[in-house]
Symmetry: C2
């Protein structure tokens, strides 16, 4: 490791946006493929087409590079989910249909996004070595808050019965993704389309039994 990488106080360079993007993409690919401990900054530099010195100038050492790219990637996910929430609730015929569509989209994202799953596994596997990674969960909280707002809207219109929207949003998330996460071993084992659909629908049905309007639950 060069001495520039070893000095955590050395100011980092913003550098060129194109080079940053190339480094971040290569870093995610290599960290995900090889795991943190097995990853070499030399390999990232080669795959990004930059010098190792450029990586150290932009990001500091391997540890800070890892934390930066994990944070950038998970935050980019939030926008995808916010857009999904807008599309699902604004386009649906009924709250049941919106929740079914959303549940299937969440479960499919868990089972069918290899890079997203690989990042989750990396986050979980390295959590004990990187306490700062708890920040990686902030995007989950942001998505939950947006879903909670949508659920509260539906409750105001008496289409759902939601005592605590944030709790209900969290319960929706675990009901529609928990079983798929287990079956797919966090995205590493293939789960058939019909099984994803069955598990998502089962989670949404449980959610509607718990939080559907009172008259439907009698």
């Amino acid at each position: 490791m060069s001495s520039s990488a070893a000095d955590p106080k050395r100011p980092l360079r913003q550098g060129s946006a194109a080079k940053r993007t190339a480094i971040a993409r290569a870093a995610i690919d290599v960290f995900v493929r090889d795991g943190y401990a097995r990853t070499s900054v030399d390999v990232i530099a080669a795959e990004a087409g930059v010098s190792k010195r450029t990586i150290y100038d932009y990001y500091g050492d391997k540890r800070r590079l890892f934390l930066s790219v994990i944070e950038e990637t998970t935050e980019a996910e939030v926008e995808v989910f916010q857009e999904l929430l807008r599309r699902t609730f604004d386009g649906a015929q009924s709250v049941e249909q919106a929740l079914m569509d959303l549940g299937l989209a969440f479960a499919t994202a868990v089972a069918r996004s290899p890079q997203r799953s690989a990042i989750m596994r990396l986050l979980i596997g390295e959590a004990a070595h990187f306490p700062e990674l708890v920040r990686g969960w902030r995007p989950v909280a942001a998505v939950q808050r947006s879903l909670a707002d949508r659920l509260a809207d539906q409750a105001d219109r008496a289409l759902l019965d939601i005592p605590d929207p944030l709790e209900a949003a969290e319960h929706f998330g675990v009901l529609v993704t928990g079983a798929v996460n287990t079956r797919s071993l966090f995205g590493t084992v293939h789960v058939a389309d019909e099984e994803i659909e069955r598990l998502a629908a089962s989670g949404v049905r449980a959610f509607l039994r718990a939080y559907g309007p009172a008259r439907d639950r009698a």
Copy 2:
């Protein structure tokens, strides 16, 4: 690596039970502390007080050692949970009380069992490198089946309304542990006792709203 470790066809020795236990304990400690890639069989041998050759004779190479000790450890967990199920349901005043006790026990196990959490993180983090690790999830399925039987009993006595006991058991598991897993980043971040209690109770309440007897859900 010695040539004995490199030959996957070489028969393994059962060896002495005391040495097997010492190796398995040291291996779990070192794998959990250092992660799979960082772990050295030399370190495990030193911590177990055996020679590296003994480890290769008993378990084969590092990969097979890892798979064996993960499997042995997760299977030992099943008995703990089965006993917990028996104690909870046989001793409770009501099904609501049994589920509250069980939910709190599950959530506490997630947040307050450092070795169990570390093994889970290791399993998830290494899943892509070890497709065989999907076997590590079999104990989860065994616990779910036992819980499903208990829920079906309660439904037969009209104390719960459970269309599909296995689905309901899986929903119970994710409702009471999902939020604690997220908050504690799979057991690496401290979650206060009151927060564990709040999250478990919230999951059990949602479960009872979904699966409580029909008259209570009106």
